[in-house]
Symmetry: C3
């Protein structure tokens, strides 16, 4: 195991994002668009949301990464996702996929598999139910919330990563980030993160920013997971509920220091 995950690596990526301000093209769901944009802005990235079939390929020409999120689908959006995925593959920029609620409806399951067949995805981020459902079509999800624990689904994450040849980041109380062989377990985070909509979607979008500046995909995903988890812990120390948590979280994304990462980082390599 030659991979080295440490606070300085996370910090280096954060500095690179602030410096180059990568343009992250999001085709994401309506619910989380604003918080996703605000999360990306807070870390120093440059978000753009565009979904029209008539412009997504042109937007990819100036984008540094692509984030696809199936949270609120419709036929035209699926077409735009497919076009932008192919354009991103052609240009060679990273693509992060968030299969929100896959398993909740056949439409989401079918769309996700169709996207995976149409192009190459660099990383997939989802909760345990979603990742398990991608591996085993008999597993269903309860809407967009997970019924499963990430650690219990470690094998499914590994299988999926090997099969798709991408990095899988499965979120939960412990996050699992794996390339199918090596897994990084990130123990950071806070339960309030599941009481604010779009935290998972923001994690996916932020991964788009990390992969835009870090070519080591496994490390980039792990750094994004550590960043989100540590920020969640710090935000929770200063809040009374999910309303104040959401505000604090954005402020922490903007202000997070290397010291804070060093103090809180908790991970295992397995």
């Amino acid at each position: 195991m030659n991979v080295k995950v440490d606070p300085k690596g996370v910090w280096s990526d954060i500095q690179a994002i602030k410096k180059s301000s990568p343009l992250v093209h999001n085709i994401t769901n309506y619910v989380v668009m604003e918080s996703t944009a605000n999360g990306l802005l807070a870390i120093g990235a440059s978000p753009v949301m565009a979904h029209a079939v008539d412009e997504v390929e042109d937007m990819i020409k100036i984008a540094n990464s692509l984030v696809l999120n199936i949270g609120t689908l419709s036929p035209a959006w699926i077409q735009a996702m497919t076009l932008s995925l192919k354009a991103a593959n052609f240009k060679g920029i990273p693509v992060v996929l968030d299969p929100v609620g896959i398993g909740a409806t056949p439409y989401r399951t079918k769309t996700t598999h169709s996207l995976l067949a149409d192009g190459k995805v660099t990383a997939i981020r989802g909760n345990a139910s979603e990742i398990a459902s991608l591996t085993d079509s008999h597993i269903t999800t309860k809407g967009v919330d997970s019924l499963l624990n990430a650690i219990d689904c470690h094998d499914q994450a590994r299988i999926l990563a090997s099969k798709i040849k991408c990095i899988v980041w499965m979120s939960g109380s412990t996050d699992v980030i794996t390339d199918g062989k090596l897994s990084i377990l990130v123990h950071n985070g806070h339960p309030l993160m599941s009481k604010v909509t779009g935290m998972g979607c923001m994690a996916t979008a932020i991964t788009g920013a990390f992969l835009a500046i870090n070519q080591d995909i496994l490390l980039g995903c792990a750094h994004a997971a550590i960043f989100m988890g540590v920020a969640g812990e710090i935000a929770s120390t200063n809040c009374k509920g999910p309303g104040s948590f959401k505000l604090e979280f954005i402020d922490v994304l903007y202000n997070l220091s290397l010291d804070q990462i060093e103090e809180r980082i908790r991970l295992d390599l397995v």
Copy 2:
């Protein structure tokens, strides 16, 4: 009048929502999707937003209630609303309708009447202008804000409830919740609630959570109204304007105690 509305009943519903975390399927407007999801998460419910014609019926299969909100319509969304309404009726789960801005345009009026003709709605929540406009097509609204007082439109609410055979919750400085015969007047709330977008839409969505766990529809709606009103009062005590009010409101939804409800509840049965 055998109905008994008291703090313990409200509290019992809140505990039931936290325990069973009902899946509330929302087909709602773009403006309020995020705050609606955050409100539902804060009270312990599980929100899902899905509007594609290709998946709404499947989503109903796993949902515990359906919320229809006409705030930002388009043809495909109306089709999805109709399909999901019929599926919800077939499955027997409650449906809450929010006729946002009915009376502002013929399109909204026609769509609302068409939905009411296509299926059975369990409850309708709207402001006084909207409820009055549903009863009397000559009454128009100013966009999505009410020009009328709820108490003054008490009769229209009763007529509508009797005609549609549903519960009508008309919001205002005093809320009227009626089945056409008995009316519960809830005097809780705060003027700042009208200075934050989506508070009415959140009330509608939260009603979806209450009706998912309380089969007494009149009581379920009254409990939701008391919950919203009391939370609004408490949030207002700790804020400087609509920005901080919105944050406080979500925190209060998450933390509200039985004591707080007992201390503040103000209602009349007429």
Copy 3:
């Protein structure tokens, strides 16, 4: 130069908005709908969002101004924008256009020029890259963020205003508001405003409210710019990052006093 820009004029407009609560019809992008609505509510205006081809002309009948924002386009929305623009021109209410991300894709550029050909726009608000791109099609933008400084593009703003015969408000660290001959430079504002999504879009929407009550278009735009800039400065004094800034900003919009405007206003007429 007979124009007089002073705190009392800004204050007079704010009072007029609170008093008459103009209905501002927004056809805007998904990302900013909620914050736009909350900004308009905070200043006392009445926002409505409606985009269906079947209802936009009816909504214009009750609206006091129209705001068009091309941030997340699709064919049906462009059609709705065109219809509502013509209806607004026919009725004689002001129209404010925000060419979000023009220059990022040909689709946005083409749509903006097509709107300008189809009807009369009262004011255009954008960042320097967007305004420059509208004047010179060889200038491109980086997604929705500006690569240029407003002061450096003063000439382009003047050319555009003269050509279109409208007011151009170009946002930046110094804002330029011009009718092509006279320019008002507003030096208020704070860098955190660029770290929260939708601040520019909110400025555009708020201009819709100011133009609904002030028939002097140049002054109305300048007052809106001063209001936004002063509010941004005050909000920044009481925040830790973009999360708290956003909340504070809404509270300040709601509470801003004449004293605060007098204390902070900084402008030049050139």
